[in-house]
Amino acid sequence: MAASVRDPEEAKATPDFPALSELLWQLADDDLLIGFRASEWLGLGVHIEEDIAFASIAQDEMGHAMTYFQLLEALGMGRADDLAQLRPVSERRNSILVEWPNGEGDYAETPHFDWAFTLVRHFLYDQFEIIRLEGLCQSRYAPLAEAAAAILGEKAYHRDHQQLWLDRLLTHGAESRARVERAVAQAAQLAGDLTDLGPWGNQVAEAGWWPGADQAGARWQQAVESFLGRYQLAPPTWSCPGNGRRGDHSPHLDAALAVLSEVYRQDPLAQW
Protein backbone atom coordinates (compact mmCIF):
# COMPACT_ATOMS: atom_id res chain seq x y z
CA MET A 1 0.00 0.00 0.00
CA ALA A 2 1.14 3.52 -0.78
CA ALA A 3 2.61 5.64 2.02
CA SER A 4 0.34 7.63 4.29
CA VAL A 5 -0.62 11.13 3.12
CA ARG A 6 -1.02 13.84 5.73
CA ASP A 7 -0.78 17.09 3.81
CA PRO A 8 -3.98 18.20 1.99
CA GLU A 9 -1.93 19.62 -0.90
CA GLU A 10 -0.17 16.32 -1.32
CA ALA A 11 -3.50 14.48 -1.27
CA LYS A 12 -4.86 16.78 -3.97
CA ALA A 13 -1.81 16.07 -6.14
CA THR A 14 -2.36 12.31 -6.17
CA PRO A 15 -4.08 10.85 -9.25
CA ASP A 16 -6.57 9.12 -6.94
CA PHE A 17 -7.78 12.34 -5.35
CA PRO A 18 -11.27 12.27 -7.00
CA ALA A 19 -11.92 8.98 -5.22
CA LEU A 20 -10.94 10.54 -1.86
CA SER A 21 -13.15 13.59 -2.30
CA GLU A 22 -16.05 11.42 -3.45
CA LEU A 23 -15.67 9.31 -0.30
CA LEU A 24 -15.61 12.41 1.91
CA TRP A 25 -18.79 13.74 0.30
CA GLN A 26 -20.52 10.44 1.07
CA LEU A 27 -19.35 10.52 4.68
CA ALA A 28 -20.25 14.16 5.26
CA ASP A 29 -23.62 14.05 3.52
CA ASP A 30 -24.68 10.80 5.22
CA ASP A 31 -24.04 12.20 8.70
CA LEU A 32 -25.56 15.58 7.90
CA LEU A 33 -28.85 14.01 6.81
CA ILE A 34 -29.11 11.36 9.52
CA GLY A 35 -28.23 14.05 12.08
CA PHE A 36 -30.87 16.35 10.63
CA ARG A 37 -33.54 13.63 10.75
CA ALA A 38 -32.62 12.78 14.34
CA SER A 39 -32.73 16.48 15.29
CA GLU A 40 -36.32 16.71 14.06
CA TRP A 41 -37.28 14.36 16.91
CA LEU A 42 -36.08 16.78 19.58
CA GLY A 43 -38.95 17.54 21.96
CA LEU A 44 -41.10 14.77 20.47
CA GLY A 45 -39.50 11.63 21.95
CA VAL A 46 -41.66 8.73 23.04
CA HIS A 47 -40.72 9.56 26.62
CA ILE A 48 -38.63 12.22 28.34
CA GLU A 49 -35.53 10.09 28.92
CA GLU A 50 -35.57 8.90 25.31
CA ASP A 51 -35.86 12.47 24.08
CA ILE A 52 -32.61 13.21 25.90
CA ALA A 53 -30.86 10.05 24.68
CA PHE A 54 -31.77 10.53 21.02
CA ALA A 55 -30.76 14.19 21.20
CA SER A 56 -27.24 13.03 22.10
CA ILE A 57 -27.20 10.78 19.05
CA ALA A 58 -28.40 13.66 16.86
CA GLN A 59 -25.62 15.88 18.17
CA ASP A 60 -22.99 13.19 17.62
CA GLU A 61 -24.07 12.69 13.99
CA MET A 62 -24.12 16.42 13.30
CA GLY A 63 -20.70 16.73 14.95
CA HIS A 64 -19.34 13.97 12.70
CA ALA A 65 -20.74 15.75 9.64
CA MET A 66 -18.96 18.91 10.78
CA THR A 67 -15.66 16.98 11.06
CA TYR A 68 -15.97 15.66 7.49
CA PHE A 69 -16.97 19.04 6.05
CA GLN A 70 -13.94 20.54 7.78
CA LEU A 71 -11.73 17.92 6.13
CA LEU A 72 -13.24 18.96 2.79
CA GLU A 73 -12.66 22.60 3.64
CA ALA A 74 -9.01 21.83 4.39
CA LEU A 75 -8.82 20.25 0.92
CA GLY A 76 -9.86 23.57 -0.61
CA MET A 77 -13.44 22.61 -1.48
CA GLY A 78 -14.95 25.72 0.13
CA ARG A 79 -16.21 26.75 3.56
CA ALA A 80 -17.68 23.90 5.62
CA ASP A 81 -21.02 25.68 6.09
CA ASP A 82 -21.34 26.49 2.40
CA LEU A 83 -20.63 22.85 1.57
CA ALA A 84 -23.21 21.59 4.07
CA GLN A 85 -25.94 24.04 3.16
CA LEU A 86 -25.58 25.44 -0.35
CA ARG A 87 -24.69 22.49 -2.61
CA PRO A 88 -27.50 21.50 -5.00
CA VAL A 89 -29.26 18.19 -4.62
CA SER A 90 -27.56 16.72 -7.68
CA GLU A 91 -24.17 17.09 -5.94
CA ARG A 92 -25.28 15.40 -2.72
CA ARG A 93 -23.85 11.94 -2.13
CA ASN A 94 -25.79 10.67 0.91
CA SER A 95 -27.78 7.45 0.77
CA ILE A 96 -31.50 7.77 0.13
CA LEU A 97 -32.07 5.85 3.38
CA VAL A 98 -30.85 8.78 5.51
CA GLU A 99 -32.73 11.51 3.64
CA TRP A 100 -36.07 9.74 4.04
CA PRO A 101 -38.49 11.48 6.46
CA ASN A 102 -39.17 10.15 9.97
CA GLY A 103 -42.80 9.78 9.05
CA GLU A 104 -45.68 11.94 7.91
CA GLY A 105 -46.10 15.62 8.69
CA ASP A 106 -43.93 18.57 9.57
CA TYR A 107 -41.70 18.39 12.68
CA ALA A 108 -43.02 21.68 14.07
CA GLU A 109 -46.76 21.40 13.46
CA THR A 110 -48.36 17.95 13.23
CA PRO A 111 -45.63 15.33 13.11
CA HIS A 112 -46.77 11.72 12.85
CA PHE A 113 -43.29 10.30 13.20
CA ASP A 114 -42.63 6.59 13.09
CA TRP A 115 -40.37 5.57 15.98
CA ALA A 116 -39.95 1.99 14.73
CA PHE A 117 -38.83 3.21 11.30
CA THR A 118 -36.50 5.75 12.89
CA LEU A 119 -34.83 3.03 14.96
CA VAL A 120 -34.56 0.52 12.11
CA ARG A 121 -33.19 3.10 9.69
CA HIS A 122 -30.65 4.33 12.22
CA PHE A 123 -29.65 0.78 13.10
CA LEU A 124 -29.01 -0.07 9.42
CA TYR A 125 -26.99 3.10 9.08
CA ASP A 126 -25.00 2.55 12.30
CA GLN A 127 -24.15 -0.96 11.24
CA PHE A 128 -22.80 0.29 7.92
CA GLU A 129 -21.01 3.25 9.42
CA ILE A 130 -19.20 1.08 11.93
CA ILE A 131 -17.92 -1.21 9.19
CA ARG A 132 -16.92 1.80 7.11
CA LEU A 133 -15.15 3.48 10.05
CA GLU A 134 -13.26 0.31 10.96
CA GLY A 135 -11.77 0.40 7.46
CA LEU A 136 -11.22 4.15 7.50
CA CYS A 137 -9.11 3.87 10.66
CA GLN A 138 -6.46 2.45 8.28
CA SER A 139 -7.01 5.11 5.60
CA ARG A 140 -4.01 6.29 3.68
CA TYR A 141 -5.23 9.86 4.24
CA ALA A 142 -4.01 10.37 7.80
CA PRO A 143 -6.47 13.16 8.81
CA LEU A 144 -9.35 10.88 7.81
CA ALA A 145 -7.89 7.90 9.69
CA GLU A 146 -7.61 10.03 12.83
CA ALA A 147 -11.16 11.38 12.51
CA ALA A 148 -12.50 7.86 11.94
CA ALA A 149 -10.83 6.51 15.08
CA ALA A 150 -12.42 9.26 17.17
CA ILE A 151 -15.87 8.80 15.63
CA LEU A 152 -15.84 5.00 15.84
CA GLY A 153 -15.72 5.21 19.64
CA GLU A 154 -19.13 6.94 19.70
CA LYS A 155 -20.82 4.73 17.14
CA ALA A 156 -20.87 1.60 19.29
CA TYR A 157 -23.14 3.43 21.75
CA HIS A 158 -25.51 4.41 18.97
CA ARG A 159 -25.81 0.87 17.68
CA ASP A 160 -26.31 -0.45 21.23
CA HIS A 161 -29.11 2.07 21.76
CA GLN A 162 -30.88 1.06 18.58
CA GLN A 163 -30.37 -2.68 19.20
CA LEU A 164 -31.66 -2.49 22.77
CA TRP A 165 -34.85 -0.82 21.57
CA LEU A 166 -35.31 -3.24 18.67
CA ASP A 167 -34.76 -6.20 20.96
CA ARG A 168 -37.50 -5.01 23.29
CA LEU A 169 -39.91 -4.13 20.51
CA LEU A 170 -39.39 -7.49 18.81
CA THR A 171 -39.86 -9.56 21.96
CA HIS A 172 -42.67 -7.78 23.82
CA GLY A 173 -45.90 -8.20 22.01
CA ALA A 174 -47.37 -8.60 18.56
CA GLU A 175 -48.12 -4.94 17.96
CA SER A 176 -44.59 -3.66 18.46
CA ARG A 177 -43.14 -6.61 16.54
CA ALA A 178 -45.45 -5.86 13.62
CA ARG A 179 -44.35 -2.24 13.67
CA VAL A 180 -40.69 -3.28 13.44
CA GLU A 181 -41.44 -5.74 10.65
CA ARG A 182 -43.16 -3.02 8.65
CA ALA A 183 -40.23 -0.68 9.33
CA VAL A 184 -37.70 -3.27 8.14
CA ALA A 185 -39.72 -3.83 4.96
CA GLN A 186 -39.90 -0.08 4.34
CA ALA A 187 -36.21 0.55 5.08
CA ALA A 188 -35.16 -2.37 2.87
CA GLN A 189 -36.70 -0.56 -0.09
CA LEU A 190 -34.60 2.52 0.66
CA ALA A 191 -31.24 1.12 1.74
CA GLY A 192 -30.15 -0.35 -1.60
CA ASP A 193 -27.72 2.50 -2.28
CA LEU A 194 -26.22 2.62 1.23
CA THR A 195 -23.36 0.27 0.35
CA ASP A 196 -22.87 1.58 -3.19
CA LEU A 197 -19.41 3.15 -3.40
CA GLY A 198 -20.30 5.62 -6.14
CA PRO A 199 -18.63 6.33 -9.50
CA TRP A 200 -15.08 6.06 -8.11
CA GLY A 201 -15.84 2.91 -6.12
CA ASN A 202 -12.94 0.72 -7.25
CA GLN A 203 -10.33 3.39 -6.62
CA VAL A 204 -11.57 4.03 -3.07
CA ALA A 205 -10.21 0.67 -1.93
CA GLU A 206 -7.34 0.35 -4.39
CA ALA A 207 -5.87 3.75 -3.54
CA GLY A 208 -6.05 2.91 0.17
CA TRP A 209 -8.44 5.74 1.06
CA TRP A 210 -10.79 3.15 2.50
CA PRO A 211 -9.15 -0.25 2.93
CA GLY A 212 -11.75 -2.98 2.77
CA ALA A 213 -14.32 -0.88 0.93
CA ASP A 214 -14.84 -3.68 -1.60
CA GLN A 215 -16.04 -6.07 1.12
CA ALA A 216 -18.03 -3.57 3.17
CA GLY A 217 -21.37 -4.17 1.46
CA ALA A 218 -21.24 -7.93 1.96
CA ARG A 219 -20.13 -7.55 5.59
CA TRP A 220 -22.97 -5.11 6.27
CA GLN A 221 -25.58 -7.37 4.71
CA GLN A 222 -24.33 -10.35 6.71
CA ALA A 223 -24.32 -8.41 9.99
CA VAL A 224 -27.82 -7.03 9.45
CA GLU A 225 -29.30 -10.32 8.35
CA SER A 226 -27.67 -12.12 11.25
CA PHE A 227 -29.28 -9.63 13.67
CA LEU A 228 -32.69 -10.02 12.03
CA GLY A 229 -32.27 -13.81 12.05
CA ARG A 230 -31.98 -13.79 15.84
CA TYR A 231 -35.61 -12.66 15.89
CA GLN A 232 -36.76 -15.01 13.13
CA LEU A 233 -37.01 -12.17 10.63
CA ALA A 234 -36.33 -13.18 7.03
CA PRO A 235 -33.58 -11.39 5.11
CA PRO A 236 -35.26 -8.64 3.08
CA THR A 237 -34.71 -7.85 -0.57
CA TRP A 238 -32.66 -4.67 -0.67
CA SER A 239 -33.64 -2.06 -3.26
CA CYS A 240 -33.78 1.69 -3.66
CA PRO A 241 -35.91 4.27 -5.54
CA GLY A 242 -32.74 5.94 -6.91
CA ASN A 243 -29.08 6.12 -6.08
CA GLY A 244 -27.95 8.86 -3.74
CA ARG A 245 -24.28 7.97 -4.21
CA ARG A 246 -24.66 9.14 -7.80
CA GLY A 247 -26.78 12.21 -7.06
CA ASP A 248 -30.11 10.58 -7.95
CA HIS A 249 -32.23 11.50 -4.89
CA SER A 250 -35.84 11.50 -3.75
CA PRO A 251 -37.82 14.77 -3.49
CA HIS A 252 -37.50 14.43 0.29
CA LEU A 253 -33.91 15.62 0.05
CA ASP A 254 -34.97 18.93 -1.55
CA ALA A 255 -37.43 19.46 1.29
CA ALA A 256 -34.87 18.55 3.96
CA LEU A 257 -32.22 20.88 2.53
CA ALA A 258 -34.71 23.74 2.31
CA VAL A 259 -35.39 23.45 6.05
CA LEU A 260 -31.80 22.75 7.04
CA SER A 261 -30.45 25.82 5.22
CA GLU A 262 -33.44 28.18 5.53
CA VAL A 263 -31.71 30.69 7.81
CA TYR A 264 -28.20 30.38 6.38
CA ARG A 265 -29.42 31.03 2.84
CA GLN A 266 -30.87 34.38 3.91
CA ASP A 267 -27.28 35.64 3.90
CA PRO A 268 -24.48 33.07 3.48
CA LEU A 269 -21.84 35.79 3.77
CA ALA A 270 -23.10 37.06 7.12
CA GLN A 271 -21.84 36.05 10.54
CA TRP A 272 -24.42 33.95 12.32
Partner: protein, 312 residues
Protein backbone atom coordinates in the same frame (compact mmCIF):
# COMPACT_ATOMS: atom_id res chain seq x y z
CA UNK B 1 -52.11 9.32 55.22
CA UNK B 2 -52.41 12.90 54.00
CA UNK B 3 -56.10 13.13 54.70
CA UNK B 4 -55.67 12.29 58.38
CA UNK B 5 -55.99 15.23 60.67
CA UNK B 6 -52.54 16.58 61.38
CA UNK B 7 -51.26 16.90 64.92
CA UNK B 8 -50.83 20.67 65.53
CA UNK B 9 -47.72 20.04 67.59
CA UNK B 10 -46.16 18.11 64.75
CA UNK B 11 -46.97 20.93 62.32
CA UNK B 12 -45.47 23.44 64.74
CA UNK B 13 -42.30 21.37 65.10
CA UNK B 14 -42.08 21.24 61.28
CA UNK B 15 -42.41 25.01 61.01
CA UNK B 16 -39.67 25.38 63.60
CA UNK B 17 -37.39 23.25 61.44
CA UNK B 18 -38.12 25.63 58.55
CA UNK B 19 -37.41 28.63 60.77
CA UNK B 20 -34.10 27.16 61.86
CA UNK B 21 -33.16 27.00 58.16
CA UNK B 22 -33.21 23.21 58.04
CA UNK B 23 -33.78 21.48 54.72
CA UNK B 24 -36.61 19.00 54.30
CA UNK B 25 -35.95 15.65 52.59
CA UNK B 26 -38.44 13.62 50.52
CA UNK B 27 -38.97 11.00 53.22
CA UNK B 28 -39.30 13.46 56.12
CA UNK B 29 -42.72 14.02 57.60
CA UNK B 30 -44.29 17.14 56.13
CA UNK B 31 -47.71 18.81 56.46
CA UNK B 32 -50.07 18.00 53.59
CA UNK B 33 -50.25 21.68 52.73
CA UNK B 34 -46.45 21.92 52.39
CA UNK B 35 -46.49 18.90 50.07
CA UNK B 36 -49.34 20.44 48.08
CA UNK B 37 -47.51 23.74 47.62
CA UNK B 38 -44.32 21.97 46.57
CA UNK B 39 -46.13 19.80 44.03
CA UNK B 40 -47.88 22.85 42.65
CA UNK B 41 -44.60 24.71 42.20
CA UNK B 42 -42.26 21.89 41.11
CA UNK B 43 -44.72 20.17 38.77
CA UNK B 44 -45.41 23.52 37.12
CA UNK B 45 -41.67 24.20 36.88
CA UNK B 46 -41.06 20.71 35.42
CA UNK B 47 -43.70 20.85 32.71
CA UNK B 48 -42.64 24.42 31.91
CA UNK B 49 -39.14 23.14 31.10
CA UNK B 50 -40.67 20.46 28.86
CA UNK B 51 -43.04 22.90 27.13
CA UNK B 52 -40.29 25.53 27.12
CA UNK B 53 -38.25 23.33 24.81
CA UNK B 54 -40.87 23.73 22.08
CA UNK B 55 -40.42 27.36 20.94
CA UNK B 56 -36.66 26.92 20.50
CA UNK B 57 -37.00 23.42 19.16
CA UNK B 58 -38.73 24.95 16.13
CA UNK B 59 -35.29 26.41 15.23
CA UNK B 60 -33.19 23.31 15.92
CA UNK B 61 -33.30 21.85 12.38
CA UNK B 62 -33.00 25.34 10.87
CA UNK B 63 -30.15 26.81 12.94
CA UNK B 64 -27.90 28.70 10.54
CA UNK B 65 -24.45 27.09 10.87
CA UNK B 66 -23.19 23.64 11.80
CA UNK B 67 -21.83 25.14 15.01
CA UNK B 68 -25.18 26.75 15.89
CA UNK B 69 -26.99 23.53 15.04
CA UNK B 70 -24.87 21.67 17.58
CA UNK B 71 -25.20 24.38 20.21
CA UNK B 72 -28.97 24.77 20.06
CA UNK B 73 -29.49 21.00 20.07
CA UNK B 74 -27.44 20.74 23.26
CA UNK B 75 -29.32 23.69 24.75
CA UNK B 76 -32.79 22.33 24.06
CA UNK B 77 -31.66 18.89 25.25
CA UNK B 78 -30.60 20.50 28.53
CA UNK B 79 -34.07 22.02 28.97
CA UNK B 80 -35.70 18.63 28.54
CA UNK B 81 -33.14 17.29 31.01
CA UNK B 82 -34.20 19.96 33.50
CA UNK B 83 -37.80 18.91 32.99
CA UNK B 84 -36.80 15.33 33.70
CA UNK B 85 -34.93 16.25 36.92
CA UNK B 86 -37.85 18.30 38.22
CA UNK B 87 -40.48 15.76 37.27
CA UNK B 88 -38.47 13.13 39.18
CA UNK B 89 -38.59 15.42 42.25
CA UNK B 90 -42.34 15.89 41.76
CA UNK B 91 -42.85 12.13 41.31
CA UNK B 92 -41.39 11.48 44.77
CA UNK B 93 -43.78 14.04 46.27
CA UNK B 94 -46.73 12.56 44.38
CA UNK B 95 -46.00 8.93 45.26
CA UNK B 96 -47.70 8.96 48.70
CA UNK B 97 -50.78 10.40 46.98
CA UNK B 98 -50.82 7.49 44.54
CA UNK B 99 -50.08 9.75 41.59
CA UNK B 100 -47.51 9.38 38.80
CA UNK B 101 -45.82 11.20 35.96
CA UNK B 102 -48.73 10.20 33.69
CA UNK B 103 -51.11 12.09 35.97
CA UNK B 104 -48.94 15.19 35.68
CA UNK B 105 -48.96 15.03 31.89
CA UNK B 106 -52.70 14.37 31.82
CA UNK B 107 -53.15 17.44 34.01
CA UNK B 108 -51.01 19.45 31.60
CA UNK B 109 -53.07 18.37 28.59
CA UNK B 110 -56.39 18.97 30.33
CA UNK B 111 -55.32 22.46 31.45
CA UNK B 112 -55.37 21.71 35.19
CA UNK B 113 -51.59 22.05 35.38
CA UNK B 114 -50.29 25.29 33.88
CA UNK B 115 -47.01 25.89 32.13
CA UNK B 116 -45.13 29.14 32.40
CA UNK B 117 -46.70 32.14 30.63
CA UNK B 118 -43.55 32.93 28.67
CA UNK B 119 -43.71 29.69 26.66
CA UNK B 120 -47.07 30.48 25.07
CA UNK B 121 -45.47 33.04 22.75
CA UNK B 122 -44.58 32.64 19.06
CA UNK B 123 -40.96 32.40 17.95
CA UNK B 124 -41.20 33.23 14.23
CA UNK B 125 -37.50 33.99 13.46
CA UNK B 126 -34.01 32.79 14.32
CA UNK B 127 -33.54 35.97 16.35
CA UNK B 128 -36.33 34.79 18.65
CA UNK B 129 -34.23 31.72 19.47
CA UNK B 130 -31.44 34.08 20.50
CA UNK B 131 -33.69 36.30 22.62
CA UNK B 132 -35.24 33.28 24.36
CA UNK B 133 -31.90 31.76 25.30
CA UNK B 134 -30.44 35.08 26.41
CA UNK B 135 -33.30 36.89 28.14
CA UNK B 136 -35.92 34.27 28.97
CA UNK B 137 -33.21 32.04 30.41
CA UNK B 138 -31.76 35.16 32.04
CA UNK B 139 -35.09 35.77 33.76
CA UNK B 140 -35.40 32.10 34.69
CA UNK B 141 -32.00 32.04 36.36
CA UNK B 142 -33.10 34.93 38.59
CA UNK B 143 -36.14 33.01 39.82
CA UNK B 144 -34.19 29.79 40.13
CA UNK B 145 -31.31 31.50 41.89
CA UNK B 146 -33.79 32.61 44.55
CA UNK B 147 -35.16 29.09 44.85
CA UNK B 148 -31.69 27.76 45.69
CA UNK B 149 -32.47 28.85 49.24
CA UNK B 150 -35.74 26.92 49.25
CA UNK B 151 -36.50 24.70 52.22
CA UNK B 152 -37.01 21.52 50.16
CA UNK B 153 -33.65 19.79 49.67
CA UNK B 154 -34.38 17.65 46.56
CA UNK B 155 -35.61 20.74 44.72
CA UNK B 156 -32.47 22.64 45.69
CA UNK B 157 -30.22 19.84 44.46
CA UNK B 158 -31.99 19.77 41.08
CA UNK B 159 -31.79 23.56 40.86
CA UNK B 160 -28.08 23.64 41.55
CA UNK B 161 -27.45 21.71 38.37
CA UNK B 162 -30.11 23.60 36.43
CA UNK B 163 -28.76 27.02 37.36
CA UNK B 164 -25.25 25.98 36.38
CA UNK B 165 -26.44 24.86 32.94
CA UNK B 166 -28.61 27.95 32.46
CA UNK B 167 -25.43 29.98 32.78
CA UNK B 168 -24.18 28.35 29.57
CA UNK B 169 -27.54 28.90 27.89
CA UNK B 170 -27.37 32.61 28.53
CA UNK B 171 -23.90 32.72 26.95
CA UNK B 172 -25.25 30.75 23.98
CA UNK B 173 -28.17 33.16 23.61
CA UNK B 174 -26.03 36.24 24.07
CA UNK B 175 -23.63 34.93 21.43
CA UNK B 176 -26.49 34.52 18.90
CA UNK B 177 -27.76 38.01 19.72
CA UNK B 178 -24.31 39.59 19.49
CA UNK B 179 -23.71 38.03 16.06
CA UNK B 180 -27.03 39.45 14.85
CA UNK B 181 -26.44 42.84 16.52
CA UNK B 182 -23.06 43.15 14.78
CA UNK B 183 -24.42 41.78 11.50
CA UNK B 184 -26.21 43.13 8.45
CA UNK B 185 -29.02 45.72 8.68
CA UNK B 186 -31.54 42.96 8.15
CA UNK B 187 -30.04 40.83 10.94
CA UNK B 188 -30.08 43.82 13.31
CA UNK B 189 -33.67 44.57 12.38
CA UNK B 190 -34.77 41.00 13.06
CA UNK B 191 -33.11 41.13 16.49
CA UNK B 192 -34.79 44.42 17.45
CA UNK B 193 -38.15 43.01 16.29
CA UNK B 194 -37.63 39.87 18.35
CA UNK B 195 -36.85 41.97 21.43
CA UNK B 196 -40.05 43.97 20.86
CA UNK B 197 -42.03 40.76 20.48
CA UNK B 198 -40.65 39.28 23.69
CA UNK B 199 -40.63 42.42 25.84
CA UNK B 200 -44.21 42.16 27.17
CA UNK B 201 -43.61 38.47 27.90
CA UNK B 202 -40.43 39.34 29.79
CA UNK B 203 -42.25 41.96 31.83
CA UNK B 204 -44.95 39.39 32.65
CA UNK B 205 -42.38 36.66 33.36
CA UNK B 206 -42.27 37.12 37.14
CA UNK B 207 -46.02 37.63 37.54
CA UNK B 208 -47.92 40.70 38.78
CA UNK B 209 -46.55 42.99 41.47
CA UNK B 210 -47.80 41.86 44.85
CA UNK B 211 -50.39 43.99 46.51
CA UNK B 212 -50.79 44.18 50.28
CA UNK B 213 -53.00 41.17 49.94
CA UNK B 214 -50.71 38.53 48.55
CA UNK B 215 -52.51 35.39 47.44
CA UNK B 216 -52.77 32.54 49.90
CA UNK B 217 -50.31 30.55 47.74
CA UNK B 218 -47.76 33.35 47.89
CA UNK B 219 -48.15 33.67 51.65
CA UNK B 220 -47.84 29.94 52.13
CA UNK B 221 -44.75 29.75 49.92
CA UNK B 222 -43.05 32.54 51.83
CA UNK B 223 -44.02 30.95 55.19
CA UNK B 224 -42.57 27.60 54.14
CA UNK B 225 -39.50 29.29 52.66
CA UNK B 226 -40.28 27.62 49.35
CA UNK B 227 -39.65 31.08 47.93
CA UNK B 228 -37.92 34.03 49.54
CA UNK B 229 -38.53 36.99 47.23
CA UNK B 230 -41.55 38.71 45.73
CA UNK B 231 -42.37 38.90 42.02
CA UNK B 232 -41.49 42.57 41.94
CA UNK B 233 -38.13 42.09 43.62
CA UNK B 234 -37.24 39.54 40.98
CA UNK B 235 -38.40 41.77 38.10
CA UNK B 236 -36.35 44.69 39.44
CA UNK B 237 -33.31 42.46 39.65
CA UNK B 238 -33.84 41.36 36.03
CA UNK B 239 -34.11 44.96 34.81
CA UNK B 240 -30.97 45.98 36.71
CA UNK B 241 -29.00 43.15 35.21
CA UNK B 242 -30.26 43.16 31.61
CA UNK B 243 -31.40 46.63 30.54
CA UNK B 244 -27.81 47.95 30.35
CA UNK B 245 -26.73 44.87 28.40
CA UNK B 246 -29.67 45.13 26.00
CA UNK B 247 -28.80 48.77 25.33
CA UNK B 248 -25.11 47.99 24.91
CA UNK B 249 -26.00 45.81 21.91
CA UNK B 250 -27.68 48.84 20.33
CA UNK B 251 -31.15 47.48 21.06
CA UNK B 252 -34.03 49.61 22.30
CA UNK B 253 -36.54 48.14 24.76
CA UNK B 254 -40.01 49.07 23.43
CA UNK B 255 -41.00 51.08 26.50
CA UNK B 256 -40.44 54.86 26.35
CA UNK B 257 -41.15 55.16 30.08
CA UNK B 258 -38.44 52.69 31.09
CA UNK B 259 -35.87 54.31 33.39
CA UNK B 260 -34.22 53.85 36.74
CA UNK B 261 -35.66 56.18 39.38
CA UNK B 262 -32.65 56.93 41.56
CA UNK B 263 -34.74 58.48 44.32
CA UNK B 264 -37.00 55.47 44.70
CA UNK B 265 -34.13 53.14 43.91
CA UNK B 266 -36.16 51.16 41.41
CA UNK B 267 -36.97 50.75 37.76
CA UNK B 268 -40.04 52.46 36.39
CA UNK B 269 -41.67 50.62 33.50
CA UNK B 270 -44.92 50.40 31.63
CA UNK B 271 -47.16 47.70 33.09
CA UNK B 272 -47.86 44.88 30.67
CA UNK B 273 -51.49 43.98 30.00
CA UNK B 274 -52.30 41.82 33.03
CA UNK B 275 -55.65 40.79 31.57
CA UNK B 276 -53.78 39.32 28.65
CA UNK B 277 -51.48 37.61 31.20
CA UNK B 278 -54.49 35.92 32.81
CA UNK B 279 -55.68 34.72 29.40
CA UNK B 280 -52.24 33.33 28.61
CA UNK B 281 -51.88 31.37 31.83
CA UNK B 282 -55.28 29.85 31.08
CA UNK B 283 -53.87 28.49 27.82
CA UNK B 284 -55.41 31.23 25.68
CA UNK B 285 -52.07 32.71 24.56
CA UNK B 286 -50.97 32.97 20.92
CA UNK B 287 -49.32 29.51 20.77
CA UNK B 288 -50.82 27.81 23.85
CA UNK B 289 -53.11 25.43 22.05
CA UNK B 290 -50.72 24.70 19.18
CA UNK B 291 -47.92 23.69 21.56
CA UNK B 292 -50.19 21.65 23.82
CA UNK B 293 -51.61 19.91 20.77
CA UNK B 294 -48.12 19.13 19.48
CA UNK B 295 -47.00 17.72 22.83
CA UNK B 296 -50.23 15.80 23.32
CA UNK B 297 -50.19 14.33 19.82
CA UNK B 298 -46.66 12.99 20.12
CA UNK B 299 -47.32 11.78 23.67
CA UNK B 300 -50.29 9.73 22.48
CA UNK B 301 -48.43 8.39 19.46
CA UNK B 302 -45.59 7.20 21.73
CA UNK B 303 -47.92 5.32 24.03
CA UNK B 304 -47.32 1.93 22.37
CA UNK B 305 -43.54 2.26 22.83
CA UNK B 306 -43.90 3.21 26.51
CA UNK B 307 -46.19 0.23 27.00
CA UNK B 308 -43.43 -2.05 25.71
CA UNK B 309 -40.90 -0.56 28.13
CA UNK B 310 -43.33 -0.99 31.00
CA UNK B 311 -43.40 -4.76 30.29
CA UNK B 312 -39.69 -5.17 29.65
Amino acid sequence: METEREDPERVEAFLQRIDRGERIEADDWMPADYRRQLIRLIAMHGVSEIMGALPEKEWVPKAPTLYRKLAIMAKVQDEIGHGQLLIRVAEDLLAPLGKTREDLLDDLFSGRLKFHNVFHMPAPTWADAGIIAWLVDGAAIITQGMSLSSSYAPYVRALQRIVEEEGFHIQHGESICMALAEGSPSQRKSLQEALERWWPALMMFFGPRETDQATSHQQANLRYRIRTKTNEELRQRFLTKYVPRIRSLGLVPPDPTLHFDAEKGEWVYQQPDWNWFRQIINNQGPRSQARLTLKHLTYEEGRWARAVLAQA
